[in-house]
């Protein structure tokens, strides 16, 4: 309503005027103002509209819970949805609009739904518009009304680095109890991080100002906390979630801070709760704490004549704060028949002389005047229930009780109990290292909160070995802070329990009548507590209503499960920088220079092919393939997993891991290794070489390399086999030099004898290539004479360049993954994960030569024995396509037999070498035996492919064995 003269401790800076607009009109405030405080100071009453009925709303809590005062804020070219006016500070030049209005906050056409409100009770949506044809139409209308703020779909991503913090004791909340807990723990010797969601420390100690003595004490505590060497303080910081082992997510204006504490003290206070009566949502009706915050922090008087609706000492304190600010208190209306001792003491304060005090008050309704603001309050008293009193006011401040801020305690697994003497839930059993104090622990008196904070601080410190434990603080003798049932039904309704979702008393009654009679069901049916403020103002009253309808005490009920987030958190804060590691081989830059077109391969990127100017993708790939078949090609296979196994049991280890036999492998030779899981499913393959009697070197597939190396370690541990395993995946680069001219070319770079006799097919040799120590293996994956070279990563570029240089005379070309896939397809070699899937067993891939069933044991062996006694499911076979069909058959096309699915194509391509289409398919063995596969390539279109023996190319594998032509 108006800005007060400068007040001690205010958070605004009057020397800095901030100009912005609200709903198209110019407004100004001071630096430090929230949108709410600036608008109130400017005389605005209606700051937002409710979600469902579009009712005009003003501030309720001014504590980040005002879900009806949600703004769209445009600043420069950035628009931000769902900005909470009660805590967001004004910014110069900001353009502010209330969200979810149709035509502005003052004349919201959406308020028509308010007119229809009697016809839109909770559950209405479930019962209407569900006709099959009606719903989609209605849904379109509904969706245009729904949602809060608007997202700018063109906005760029904002990245915020996260921070980490480690501390002995984290104190959440820097009100009286949190301050005293932090100081006590620090004095005992613990390091302390004290955080508060507000801009400054002090909490209610700072904004409840009627007692100069208390304000002075709080200021001293704040100074002490700010200057203590073992206390770090962090304001504007919300503990949004408690996670296992005291891992607390703290959201700050700029980023997320992840705090690992050894102990956590929750001193978050309590959420003041509204009185439920007709018109309790009118602008001007607010929680007393909200008014006190606005007065103390922003020097804004939210009313000029108020009535205080109370049921505890805090309402009387608010009356004193009002009077100190020059606000006229028309009356203090106490719901209780007899105010408690603390209330009576405050009532006798000279400042309240002459203020009308009524007890046993039953509020009846608040009514609005011009501009939609509250103008009067009507009430009855228990003494004269027949008589309706009406007071003209422009503000109703409510202080009838609290819901302790126990969300973090709940998340941590605290067991709560309901305590009658304070009408509140209290922690009964706290997890180890977790403490609660102050209002969150049921202590509401000022001195009791300070003492309880000391107790919690001492206990937390003692638990970590600092200082001595102390006894708990009793709550006996305290005035009950909460009314047991501040809920007053009105024949015409509009008594709001949940402001986020516009839920009234009768909505709960109806829901319970419908059978939704537990707190969880009630919440889900009414959506009570599911709005942006997550029930901070409604859960407690909803539970009181439920308990009363069921004729039970609150002892028999529990609040619904509290989950993170305590306040909603920006996705950009949670995401942080979005770190996604990508692995690159040591010659990654070489590929780029050569024109590589990249593709992802596990965590790596690999060249799919090398682009050639003037040539299409398939032409470039065919050229790469031809150079391997006719000359020489070079491919980077450095992404393969590379492992050494050492020790006398290394051979036995490999015998157990792989299906083949390796204990009898000759030194200097390699063998194909196939790996299964326990169910007999094919999971990996590679080449295994024997370096020395007790040393093996072997490869795994790219995607599995990390997990398999780990699994090798587990297997060795399980089998108690002393095997030394070394992961050399990153240590070695690896290239495959393949083609009929590879030997000749290699000869120019090495002193090693690479002749067929000295270095036969499948042999393993060590020697220098281009002056670099190198492991060489004669391999045949692509079906030509070939050498796989493994070189230390640091020398990879040297060797790669030397190979390309030496090969220039032979027309060497680098080739990519696509050409390699075609090359191996011509050879009929399967790729695990492409030609097999997560269910393909070793019996289905037609590789009996690789599986030594006569070994004592290998993983999957026993399952293969069992599977051999069941009908065989599928069979991996080769097929040849009729001319002109290769482009139409795609991988994953189905093989159809008698109208049923009998398999699928796993690999297919046009063989440039054979000049016809070839492929592999996993099919029903009976269908494979028929010799013809009907492949569906369109809705009805089929291609008939002939089952063909493998390999398609060089059936006797002469080329890879000796390098000679077939």
């Amino acid at each position: 309503m108006k800005r007060l003269p400068a007040r001690p401790g205010e958070w605004i800076r009057r020397d800095e005027v901030v100009r912005f607009t609200f709903e198209g009109q110019a407004r100004l405030g001071f630096a430090g103002d929230t949108i709410t405080s600036a608008l109130l100071a400017a005389g605005d009453a209606i700051l937002g509209r409710s979600f469902k009925y579009h009712r005009p709303r003003g501030p309720l809590s001014a504590a980040n819970h005002d879900a009806n005062l949600v703004m769209q804020v445009d600043l420069g070219d950035r628009t931000t949805p769902n900005v909470r006016a009660d805590v967001a500070r004004i910014q110069a030049g900001a353009v502010v609009h209330a969200v979810n209005t149709h035509g502005g906050v003052r004349s919201d056409r959406g308020a028509l739904t308010g007119f229809f409100a009697p016809f839109l009770p909770v559950g209405f949506y479930y019962k209407a518009f569900h006709g099959k044809r009606l719903f989609p139409l209605w849904e379109r209308v509904f969706r245009s009304m729904t949602g809060l703020g608007r997202v700018d779909l063109a906005a760029p991503q904002r990245t915020t680095p996260k921070r980490y913090d480690f501390v002995d004791v984290l104190v959440v909340g820097a009100g009286p109890s949190g301050l005293s807990a932090a100081l006590t723990a620090a004095l005992a010797g613990a390091s302390v991080l004290l955080i508060d969601e507000n801009m400054q420390l002090g909490g209610s100690g700072q904004y409840v100002r009627h007692s100069p003595d208390r304000v002075e004490r709080i200021n001293r505590l704040v100074d002490a906390a700010n200057s203590h060497p073992r206390i770090r303080t962090l304001c504007d910081a919300v503990a949004v979630g408690y996670y296992a082992d005291h891992w607390v997510a703290v959201d700050t204006p700029r980023s997320l801070v992840k705090v690992r504490a050894r102990s956590v003290i929750v001193a978050q206070g309590g959420f003041e709760q509204p009185v439920v009566f007709r018109g309790n949502d009118l602008p001007g009706v607010m929680l007393a704490g909200a008014a006190q915050r606005l007065l103390a922090r922003y020097a804004v008087a939210p009313a000029s004549r108020v009535v205080i609706l109370t049921a505890n000492e805090h309402g009387y304190a608010a009356a004193l704060d009002a009077i100190d600010a020059g606000i006229h208190v028309e009356a203090i209306l106490d719901l209780r028949a007899t105010p408690g001792p603390a209330s009576r003491e405050l009532a006798s304060d000279p400042r309240l002389v002459g203020v009308h005090l009524a007890t046993g008050v039953q509020p009846y309704e608040a009514s609005s005047g011009a501009g939609g603001r509250v103008a009067s309050l009507a009430f009855r008293t228990a003494a004269a229930p027949g008589r309706l009193h009406k007071i003209a006011i422009d503000g109703v401040w409510m202080s009838v009780g609290f819901a302790p801020a126990q969300s973090l305690l709940h998340q941590a697994g605290t067991v709560m109990r309901y305590e009658r003497s304070i009408e509140q839930f209290l922690p009964q059993t706290l997890p180890k290292g977790l403490f609660a104090c102050g209002k969150a622990n049921g202590r509401y008196g000022f001195d009791a909160r300070l003492a309880d904070g000391e107790r919690a601080g001492a206990q937390a410190a003692a638990g970590l070995g600092f200082g001595a434990d102390v006894a708990p603080v009793s709550i006996a003798g305290e005035e009950c802070p909460s009314h047991e049932y501040p809920i007053f039904p009105h024949p015409k309704g509009k008594e709001f329990v949940d402001f986020d979702e516009d839920i009234q008393i009768r909505d709960y009654e109806n829901a319970v009548q419908e059978g939704f009679d537990s707190s969880e069901l009630l919440k889900r049916y009414t959506t009570s507590g599911m709005g942006p403020s997550q029930g901070k103002h409604s859960n407690m009253n909803a539970l009181r209503i439920l308990a009363r309808i069921r004729g039970e005490g609150l002892e028999q009920h529990a609040l619904t499960t509290a989950r993170p987030m305590f306040h909603p958190v920006l996705m950009s804060h949670l995401a942080g920088r979005g770190f996604q590691p990508e692995r690159r081989t040591p010659i990654d830059a070489e590929h780029t220079t050569l024109g590589a077109v990249w593709m992802p391969a596990g965590n790596w990127r690999r060249p799919e092919y090398y682009a050639v100017e003037g040539k299409s993708r398939s032409e470039a790939i065919a050229a790469e393939l031809r150079s391997v078949r006719t000359g020489v090609g070079l491919i980077d296979v450095g992404t393969l997993g590379k492992v050494e196994a050492h020790g006398p049991c290394a051979g036995e280890f490999l015998d157990r891991v792989y299906t083949g036999r390796f204990s009898n492998l000759k030194v200097g030779m390699t063998r194909y290794g196939l790996m299964l899981d326990e169910a007999g499913v094919v999971i990996d393959d590679g080449v295994i070489g024997r370096l020395r009697a007790e040393s093996f070197y072997f490869t795994t597939t790219t995607g599995n390399s990390g997990t398999l190396f780990r699994e090798f370690g587990r297997l060795a541990t399980t089998w108690r086999l002393p095997v030394g395993l070394v992961n050399l995946t990153g240590h070695y680069a690896a290239f495959n030099l393949a083609g009929p001219k590879s030997r000749e070319m290699l000869r120019s770079l090495t002193t090693l004898d690479v002749s067929e006799d000295a270095f036969p097919y499948l042999a393993l040799r060590e020697g220098a290539v281009a002056g670099v120590p190198c492991r060489l293996m004669r391999v045949g994956f692509v079906g030509e004479l070939g050498f796989e070279l493994h070189v230390p990563a640091d020398y990879a570029v040297t060797v790669w360049r030397a190979l390309l240089q030496a090969g220039r005379a032979h027309g060497i070309r680098p080739f990519g993954v696509e050409a390699q896939r075609l090359l191996r397809l011509e050879k009929g070699h399967m790729i695990i994960g492409q030609d097999t899937d997560a269910t393909t067993t070793a019996l289905e891939i037609n590789a009996p030569w690789a599986i030594k069933m006569d070994k004592p044991f290998f993983i999957g062996q026993r399952s293969l024995q069992a599977l051999a006694r069941t009908p065989r499911h599928l069979s991996l076979v080769g097929f040849r396509l009729p001319p002109g069909t290769a482009g139409r058959v795609k991988e994953a096309h189905l093989v159809i037999h008698d109208g049923e699915i009998s398999g699928r194509v796993t690999s297919v391509g046009h063989s440039p070498t054979l000049e016809y289409g070839i492929g592999l398919a996993l099919v029903d063995p009976k269908v494979a035996d028929s010799g013809l596969l009907s492949i569906r390539v369109g809705r009805t279109e089929m291609v008939e492919a002939a089952v063909t023996a493998l390999p398609f190319y060089d059936p006797d594998s002469q080329r890879q064995r000796s390098g000679s032509s077939p």
Partner: protein, 400 residues
């Protein structure tokens, strides 16, 4: 909507354990289609409080195996008429469903699913990156350059979302009106069996509210199945991992279809209220608890922003978790068991919600006739002991 019976009767024809969507659907169809009304549904907590109320409400039938496709297609068909059957709005909203592929291996899997789907008349097709971009123009198909870009997607037009709680309530009310008793806060302490010709047979159930006798027990307690099986002396492949989800504050509608990316571990849709409902993959280790983790919201948010960078200023409001019954072949375990009169509807992994109607149909048939409904033949309890796994896991095959 429900009556709240005050006591258990001494005898029921069928006892259903678990008042989630599946248990209530079975009760509903037992009463409606099979004339069995003397049925008790026992629930340890409250109606729909398990995974029915915790999932991200996606409904689709674009599975990989013939068995899966036929089963879920029937479910989608049943969903269409459910609201009218119930006289209750389920907010069933057909949105279309994109499963994004970021690698050529995953494009192959998408085509495989599309081909199988089409074979059974299910509307699925592979679309390329440009078509994805046209349908969801605000998506960054380059994934911010942090992850492999979107190469294409499996588009499944019938993909839908619904209001999950309402499904349980609709079946509950329908069952209730037909005489089925729903007993909440009723915990099963033991399932009593006795020797019979074929081994053992169910004779009753002991609860925290007393013992009841019955010859037929249907166990529909996803997330708690192993404990129930233990009561009748059965073991199973089912293991429990938590599955988490999160929801944003409401924003004005901007996202129509359901978007799923296996590579980024993201699925997201926008609810009728304007909230973004988001999920990711399973938690990495066994846990019988619905606790939340920070890692989950951190990594899901990071991946969400890769696809939708403009959501930086949108706030996550709440996170939660459910417990998922996992099986080795990613298919459910349904039907008869070696214990006569003990039926299970379990192993739902992360996807039981969409199957709610068809599970009710098939399980009620199975319980009423003591014969496995043909649609769930492939999902039998004993398939593992014969190495006859369904191939649904094939869709998760490793990519290179």
């Amino acid at each position: 909507m429900f009556t709240v019976p005050d006591r258990l009767k001494p005898t029921y024809d069928v006892v259903i354990i678990g008042a989630g969507g599946h248990g209530l659907a079975a009760a509903y169809y037992l009463a409606r289609d099979h004339g069995i009304h003397n049925v008790a549904v026992l629930e340890r907590g409250y109606i729909g409080g398990g995974n029915t109320g915790r999932n991200t409400t996606i409904i689709r039938s674009n599975y990989l195996t013939p068995e899966g496709v036929k089963f879920y297609d029937e479910s989608v068909r049943l969903w269409q008429d459910l609201a009218q059957d119930f006289d209750l709005n389920l907010f069933y909203s057909t949105r279309g469903h994109f499963t994004l592929a970021h690698t050529d291996a995953s494009m192959r899997t998408m085509r495989w699913r599309a081909e199988v789907n089409k074979h059974y008349g299910v509307d699925s097709e592979v679309v390329d990156a440009q078509e994805v971009q046209r349908a969801v123009p605000m998506m960054d198909i380059r994934c911010g350059g942090h992850s492999p870009p979107v190469l294409g997607a499996l588009y499944h037009a019938p993909g839908a979302i619904a209001r999950h709680d309402a499904v349980a309530w609709g079946y509950g009310r329908g069952a209730d009106r037909r005489g089925v008793e729903i007993h909440q806060n009723t915990e099963v302490l033991s399932i009593d069996t006795e020797e019979c010709e074929s081994g053992r047979a169910v004779v009753g159930v002991t609860t925290n509210r007393g013992r009841i006798s019955t010859r037929k027990v249907l166990c529909a307690v996803a997330g708690s199945t192993p404990g129930m099986l233990k009561m009748v002396g059965l073991s199973s492949p089912i293991y429990i991992h938590p599955l988490q989800a999160m929801v944003s504050e409401p924003v004005k509608p901007w996202l129509d279809p359901v978007i799923v990316s296996g590579s980024l571990h993201v699925y997201v849709s926008q609810s009728a209220r304007g909230e973004l409902v988001m999920g990711a993959s399973l938690d990495p280790y066994e846990l019988h608890s619905t606790r939340s983790t920070l890692d989950f919201v951190e990594s899901l948010s990071a991946h969400m922003l890769e696809l939708f960078p403009f959501l930086s200023d949108v706030r996550v409001m709440r996170q939660w978790a459910g417990m998922a019954d996992m099986t080795p072949d990613f298919s459910p375990i349904m039907g008869l068991t070696p214990v006569a009169g003990f039926y299970i509807d379990a192993g739902w992994g992360t996807w039981g919600f969409k199957a709610t109607p068809v599970c009710g149909k098939t399980m009620s048939h199975t319980v009423a006739t003591n014969r496995t409904h043909p649609l769930i033949d492939a999902f039998g309890y004993d398939r593992f002991s014969r190495f006859e796994l369904t191939g649904e896991k094939g869709a998760a095959s490793v990519g290179h």
